[in-house]
Symmetry: C2
Subunit: 124 residues, 2 copies
């Protein structure tokens, strides 16, 4: 993957906010939409942009698309995502996004179950 592509993905604040959220946990579109207070279309478009370049991956579960950071990414990308994580919390938007996310914890706990079920028969 070309280096410049990474930066082209990261050069939009909405996408940075999305990645910041996904760095916490897998989420479905509606949760992201709610935290960012952006339209469904906008969130969806940014997500598909990120997916196109492999910065996120998507898995459908029933009606919901669960987006997450891929477990395994190219080395350059991994380095940059780590660097991003190191720097991002110094900015208020990102911090408050995480707080908003925490408040919704109950709403998205089921996702953790789906992604890494403790009991493999316990599917929703």
């Amino acid at each position: 993957m070309k280096l410049v592509r990474i930066y082209q993905c990261l050069c939009d604040e909405t996408r940075l906010r999305i990645l910041n959220l996904l760095a916490q946990r897998p989420l479905c579109v509606c949760h992201i939409q709610e935290v960012l207070a952006r339209s469904q279309v906008q969130v969806s478009q940014h997500l598909s942009r990120l997916k196109k370049d492999g910065l996120v991956e998507a898995n459908r579960h029933q009606n919901w698309m669960i987006y997450s950071l891929p477990k395994k990414v190219p080395q350059a990308l991994e380095a940059h995502l780590r660097c991003l994580q190191d720097c991002i919390q110094t900015e208020p938007v990102f911090k408050s996004d995480l707080q908003a996310l925490k408040k919704m914890k109950a709403d998205c706990d089921w996702i953790d179950e789906v992604v890494s079920p403790k009991n493999s028969t316990a599917q929703v």
Copy 2:
């Protein structure tokens, strides 16, 4: 400095190539122009873009503007520039730019003298 600004600077390949060159040594516009085989205007415009956000600094020496990476940059920027440096050599363009630069070494050695003169009276 806002994080997204950093990425907006880095999301253009020409600018990445410029930064890659400047990571080696201070250079004047005409050298960059030659290595990148881009027009004077284009190089100048990208440089002024980078300067606007503090990714490079400029010092005039006679007819020449000497561009260089600032010694001291904000922490987030520094982290990202380091990350960039770690990753950039895996791509052919950047590697060959450095080789082209080496071939011009003789042409730009005077810059090193100007930037950090061994003998302070030895100005061109």
